[in-house]
Every structure is written in structure tokens, then in C-alpha cells.
């Protein structure tokens, strides 16, 4: 009837975590039977795919970053002098000509910081890349844990500042999408498949930005008396509805940014021409 007694390896892991003295003596680190590792593997694969693609494009994509009238979201705003000329676009050369690296590296810091400190992505990479924890009720491999109480992880608390920066960046990408209603010569009143791609992308980016937990706090979550601030309460209610979809919006906007850049890259490299609607 008995299937198990305290096994030899229990001694090695004694006095830590689920094997601490006094807790039920169970040798296994977990007893889960489901495929608890699958979401973590898929998350890691998705993030690595994006990291690999965006790194390649950020470092080596300058000459295929603009295909009039569309600009890649990785290169807007373009703050160095080595940007392609974007008619009406955000090529502001604020950094001057001394910046010889890819201009994408300047601006990508902000969306990168926004997503790196995002409450959803934190969960995703803590679980997938750091196994802290690998899954619920699955013992983590680390001997010590201090969470976000000290450097460097205490810096996650700056998330709201990246949210503030994300708003003008999303505003510029919105302007880029509007510029998509031109033809290659800059005449207004035209639209192509690329316009649609840029529009979908910016809707998802705004969705992700507005559903941010810091946004939810700032618009109304910090209040104690909603009844005294009906407008902010209404805004908080809207943001809360979006916030419930924050994970989905995080993934959708991540892939839409990558796919928008890919679309511009294919146009700029001459792989195909933009199908024009009118």
C-alpha cells in the first residue's frame, strides 16, 4: 500500500523551501501532472523571437526603415542625422551627426523600458527566463529570493515614468499612421495596405499603453473617493476594462510592431509593392 518513504535525496534538499523542517515530507519538488511548463516555453519562444528580430532590425535596418509614405515603428521618431528623409515625418536629428550607430537604438530605449518594467511582462519573464517561480506550486531552483526589494529589481518601480514617455512615442506613431494616407510623392487622400497595417498597429499600441497598470493608477486608481471625482472614476472604469486585457494587448502590440516593421522592410527592400486602395 505504501508507495513512498522519505528518499535519500530529501536529505540534500532539506531545510529549503517545500523541504523545510516541519513541512510535509514529500520528496518531489512538485506533484503537478499537467503541462505546466508549456506556457513558459511558449512565452520564452515568443519573446526570444521578438528580441532576435528587433535586435537585427535595430542594428542593421536603417536603409530599409522607410518606404514612402510608411516608416518603420522602430525608426520613428528618428533622432540622429543619419536618418532617411521622411517627408512630414519625425526625422528630427536632435542628436546631430556625431551619432553614427543606428538611430533606432536611441528611441527604442523607451518602448523597451516600458515593456521591460511592465507588470505583465515582469510576470512573463520572471516565470519563463528566471523560473521565479517556474509555475504555480512548482518549486523554484534558487536558494535565495529578495524579489523587488533591492537593486536592480527595485528599479521596476520606475514603470510609470516609462509610461509617461510611451505617450509621446505613441503620439508620433499615430502621426506616422496618418501620414500613411498619402502616396509615395506625399499627396494626401490615398491609402494602401501599408496604411491599414500602420493603423492596426497604432490601435494596438494605444490599447496596450492605455491598459497599463500605472495608467490605471494615475487616471483614478490612486483616489480613495471615486464619488468625489466622477470623471476620473469613469476614466478608471474604462482603463480597468482594458487593463483586464493587458496581457493580450501586450502580445498583440508586440507582434504588430514587429509585423509593421517587417512590412516596411519588405517594401523598402523591393520584395513587393504596396497594394494601393485609392
Amino acid at each position: 500500500m505504501t508507495t513512498e518513504t522519505r528518499p535519500p535525496e530529501a536529505a540534500e534538499t532539506a531545510a529549503r523551501g517545500v523541504h523545510s523542517p516541519g513541512r510535509a515530507a514529500i520528496a518531489q519538488r512538485h506533484l503537478r501532472l499537467d503541462r505546466w511548463w508549456l506556457p513558459q516555453v511558449m512565452t520564452a519562444a515568443g519573446l526570444l523571437l521578438f528580441i532576435g528580430y528587433s535586435t537585427w532590425r535595430a542594428f542593421f535596418g536603417l536603409h530599409t526603415s522607410y518606404a514612402a509614405p510608411y516608416v518603420s515603428p522602430f525608426y520613428s521618431p528618428c533622432l540622429a542625422a543619419n536618418c532617411p528623409t521622411m517627408k512630414g515625418g519625425a526625422d528630427w536629428a536632435l542628436f546631430g551627426s556625431w551619432w553614427q550607430l543606428s538611430p533606432a537604438l536611441i528611441v527604442l530605449i523607451f518602448p523597451l523600458g516600458f515593456r521591460l518594467t511592465c507588470y505583465y511582462y515582469r510576470k512573463a519573464y520572471y516565470r519563463s527566463f528566471w523560473s521565479s517561480p517556474p509555475a504555480c506550486a512548482v518549486a523554484e531552483p534558487h536558494a535565495k529570493y529578495t524579489g523587488e526589494t533591492r537593486l536592480p529589481l527595485i528599479l521596476q518601480n520606475v514603470h510609470r515614468y516609462f509610461f509617461y514617455f510611451a505617450i509621446p512615442v505613441a503620439g508620433i506613431l499615430t502621426w506616422d499612421a496618418i501620414l500613411g494616407f498619402r502616396d509615395a510623392q506625399g499627396r494626401w487622400g490615398h491609402m494602401g495596405l501599408g496604411t491599414l497595417v500602420l493603423l492596426v498597429n497604432i490601435v494596438l499600441i494605444w490599447g496596450y499603453t492605455a491598459s497599463c497598470h500605472s495608467c490605471r493608477h494615475i487616471v483614478g486608481g490612486r483616489l480613495r473617493h471615486f464619488s468625489k471625482h466622477p470623471v476620473r472614476y469613469r476614466m478608471w472604469t474604462w482603463v480597468s476594462k482594458l487593463n483586464a486585457r493587458h496581457m493580450q494587448l501586450a502580445w498583440a502590440s508586440l507582434f504588430s510592431v514587429g509585423l509593421t516593421d517587417l512590412y516596411v522592410y519588405l517594401l523598402a527592400s523591393g520584395a513587393f509593392s504596396d497594394p494601393r486602395f485609392f
Partner: protein, 255 residues
């Protein structure tokens, strides 16, 4: 319809124990707790199990079923993989007393460490008046049945016994959030800053918002999104946001 299932139940105490197999009858519509009671009635009368309401409201029958923290009374047999052994262990974060019963005193200790609601001055009990909009958030947290499954699954204490003195756990950080959002709590007037003490004294910084507490909550409380993250943002207001600090100093923002 009935069938024979294999149950593997942990039996023992703080000195040691083992998983013990039982062949037991299962009937349509039963939950895990029904089957545990049948084992108790027919094969192991000394099997220790804590239970009370059998309706998911008392929070007594918390355990780990196939490695997942759950209420035994709310886990239908039909939701478990048919034909596979069902493993039941006590909660693995707390000291075991006997069989499926653990000593959850850690949680009562943490509950005592949270300063209670501070009544507003000049308002007698019975005179409290609050708008529904102001108490909606706190009412979600009041659904808690104190089953302590969130405390059990939280890796901060589950995997690190040494963090127990410093970390209140999701249930009690949620309690701080509830009080800090309470429209009539006058803690600030008495010099108690719940936002700052959540971080400084109750270990809010240990939480890395991996949402296991939300996943296991049998009441469906969005502990992470509605309590822990808002509390973290409130702590940021106090400790890491110079704009908010400056605003409160020059009178643009109230605390």
C-alpha cells in the same frame, strides 16, 4: 455511475510521512472531499482532514490536489483526468500537524501585524456613510474566505522559509490595500501611512506579481491586478515618485 479510483494521500506528521494508496469508489457528481470522507469512513478512520461547510465558503479544506493548491470541496472529480491516480497532500508551505492538516498559524500572526481599521474622528459606529462607488474595490477583497491557498502557493514563502518573518503574503497585502482604499479609514490622520508601511514593514517588495495567488483563489478575487499592483503603485507614490512627493508638499495633491 460509479467507478473505482486510486487515491494517493499523504499521511504522516512533522516527523515524517508517506504517500499512501487507496482504492476507493467514486460516484457521479462527487467532489474530492466526498471521496476523502469515504476513505475515512471505510479504510482509514484516523485520517486527519480539516473541513466544515462543504460549500467553498469556510476555507477549511485547503489542500494540494495533483500538486495544485485547491479546496477539496470545490474540486469536482469530473474535472480530474479520468483513470489517473489522484494525489492529495497537505499545503506544502505550512508546518504539517497530521495527514492533510497543517498549522496555518503563520497567517494569524500576519493578520495581527496589520494595523486595524482606524475609525474616523467624530463619526460614531452606525453613522458611517459611504458611496457604493467608494467601497466597490474593498468589497471584492471582502469575499476572501481565508482558505490561505494564495499564501500557500506564493513562492516567496513557499520556496523560501526565511522570508516568512518579512513577508505578509498576498492575503494580508490585500488586506492593507483594502484598508488603504477604504473611504473612511483614518489611519493617515493618526500618523500611519499604510502605503509606505506595506513596503517597509510587510514586504510588498518581495512580491514579483507572478499571479499565482490570483490563479488559485477559489473566490476569483483578482488579487494581483486589483490589490497588489495598485498597492505597489501607491507605494511608488510615497517612496519613488518625486513628482507626487513634491505635489503633496506644495498642496497640489492630497495623500
Amino acid at each position: 455511475m460509479s467507478y473505482e479510483a486510486t487515491f494517493r494521500v499523504w499521511r504522516g506528521d512533522a516527523e515524517g510521512g508517506e504517500l499512501t494508496d487507496f482504492q476507493v469508489e467514486v460516484n457521479d457528481g462527487e467532489v474530492v472531499l466526498d471521496v476523502v470522507h469515504r476513505i475515512q469512513a471505510t479504510q482509514a478512520p484516523d485520517l486527519a482532514v480539516r473541513w466544515n461547510c462543504k460549500a467553498g465558503k469556510c476555507g477549511s479544506c485547503s489542500a494540494e490536489i495533483n500538486g495544485r493548491p485547491r479546496l477539496m470541496c470545490m474540486t469536482r472529480m469530473s474535472t480530474l483526468p479520468a483513470g489517473e491516480t489522484v494525489t492529495i497532500t497537505p499545503m506544502r508551505t505550512f508546518p504539517v500537524l497530521r495527514d492533510l492538516v497543517t498549522d496555518v498559524g503563520f497567517n494569524y500572526q500576519k493578520a495581527r501585524e496589520i494595523p486595524a481599521f482606524v475609525p474616523p474622528q467624530g463619526v460614531k459606529p452606525g453613522e458611517y456613510r459611504m458611496q457604493q462607488a467608494d467601497v466597490n474595490r474593498s468589497q471584492e477583497f471582502r469575499k476572501c474566505i481565508e482558505c490561505f491557498l494564495c499564501q500557500d502557493t506564493c513562492h516567496v514563502v513557499r520556496d523560501h522559509e526565511e522570508n516568512k518573518p518579512a513577508f505578509a503574503g498576498p492575503r494580508f497585502l490585500m488586506r492593507i490595500a483594502e484598508l488603504d482604499m477604504h473611504p473612511l479609514d483614518a489611519a493617515a490622520d493618526s500618523g500611519l501611512d499604510r502605503k509606505a508601511t506595506a513596503q517597509d514593514e510587510h514586504g510588498l517588495g518581495y512580491c514579483n506579481i507572478t499571479k499565482c495567488c490570483t490563479e488559485v483563489c477559489p473566490e476569483g478575487i483578482k488579487i494581483t491586478d486589483n490589490a497588489l499592483i495598485p498597492l505597489k503603485e501607491r507605494a511608488v507614490d510615497r517612496k519613488y515618485d518625486p513628482l507626487v512627493w513634491l505635489g503633496s508638499k506644495i498642496g497640489l495633491r492630497r495623500g
